[in-house]
Symmetry: C2
Subunit: 201 residues, 2 copies
Amino acid sequence: GVPARTVERLVLYRRLLNGLTEQGVEFIHSHEIAEKANNSAAQVRRDLMAIGYTGNPARGYAVNDLVRSINGLFEQKRDQKAALVGIGKLGRAILGYFALRQARPRIVAAFDSDPAKGQGEFAGCPCYPVDALTSVIARDGITVGILTVPADFAQPVTDLMLVAGVRGILNFAPTPLKTPAWAVVDNVDIATKLEKVAFFC
Amino acid sequence: GVPARTVERLVLYRRLLNGLTEQGVEFIHSHEIAEKANNSAAQVRRDLMAIGYTGNPARGYAVNDLVRSINGLFEQKRDQKAALVGIGKLGRAILGYFALRQARPRIVAAFDSDPAKGQGEFAGCPCYPVDALTSVIARDGITVGILTVPADFAQPVTDLMLVAGVRGILNFAPTPLKTPAWAVVDNVDIATKLEKVAFFC
Ligand SMILES: NC(=O)c1ccc[n+]([C@@H]2O[C@H](COP(=O)([O-])OP(=O)(O)OC[C@H]3O[C@@H](n4cnc5c(N)ncnc54)[C@H](O)[C@@H]3O)[C@@H](O)[C@H]2O)c1
Ligand SMILES: NC(=O)c1ccc[n+]([C@@H]2O[C@H](COP(=O)([O-])OP(=O)(O)OC[C@H]3O[C@@H](n4cnc5c(N)ncnc54)[C@H](O)[C@@H]3O)[C@@H](O)[C@H]2O)c1
């Protein structure tokens, strides 16, 4: 299949192309996409080959057609649902952000161990006590987890989610997770990224 | 110098080792660090070589000594200051999180174009109108920027920060930034990470 780094770049290209459609641009060359995406025309052409798309060298790529083609890659994943665990500072920022957008996957449930937070709804997303995690994930067919709990709880909550039916986790806790080989895990370590930027400047 | 990926891993090792000190662990082998960090013993040994550190194969690494050695790498960057621009959902989550920790770099100023947000303080961090960005960055000697503004404002705010004296930026806006070669930029694209995890699971 398509490598992870290619998928990330295709998502970026699609976002840049959507911006162009709004400006009425109909055609674009690979070097123009590359300039906006801060990479090379050759990289853009290679990425589009990964989804079997080649342009007309004279005119370039038809923006609408290219967006449709990138969307095709995500077609079979259209209705995926996500759960967020840990309705704290970061969790609330993420729920507030994604509530405004028709982003995929849709965040359909949020959980917290604090009874005051694990009830009602936040930014339109139903909130549940963490004790209900297994049954809600199974009931709603949730396959993606967003982990915004403190580091000490990251592993036990992960174990719970994977048993309940989640297959992919985006982890914001600053601790590496132990997961089975079939699980898809990506980490966002904000503190480390910040320290790294500071180190090099 | 030390490559960026190595710096990220050394920051992670230090965090894991600090956790061990709290548990009273005095020595650790490279394979034990690797197991916690989800990588290989060879990778750990290579990373520690980058800071000129070798252990005693029989006993392993002395945890306290190793932490001091990793800290030495960051020594000359001890007093760096950071500014956050865009005191919205994500900006407030970041200010709230770092206020509690003696994290480096210290976030010493926050800015917003909304007059209601660009005043007073949030989580102990002084807040200013974005018009004051250039003067505050120059006055306080701020070298790191955290960008949590909407995508449309990311580039103009970046230009402003770099002119004022910032040399490194952690960008949360979902848009690639154009910066001079000397600037250090890292991006955190939460929406793309989430879409990628969903794609593969
Ligand atoms: N806020 C940031 O900008 C930021 C920056 C870097 C890293 N992080 C990491 O992101 C995670 C969340 O950070 P935060 O600032 O939102 O913390 P927070 O303390 O504000 O929120 C954590 C939430 O998780 C809930 N929780 C705790 N244990 C739980 C459990 N077992 N099951 C379900 N919910 C549980 C708490 O009740 C709380 O609502 C942490 O791991 C933190 O290290 C956050
Ligand atoms: N909240 C999230 O979890 C999340 C997820 C993915 C991406 N992002 C990205 O992070 C950024 C911030 O997102 P958010 O959810 O906090 O948005 P937000 O709208 O809640 O906050 C943005 C803040 O920036 C301020 N602002 C706007 N223009 C400015 C300017 N020129 N100078 C200074 N301040 C300015 C606004 O007044 C507001 O306070 C956006 O680029 C967004 O796409 C956020």
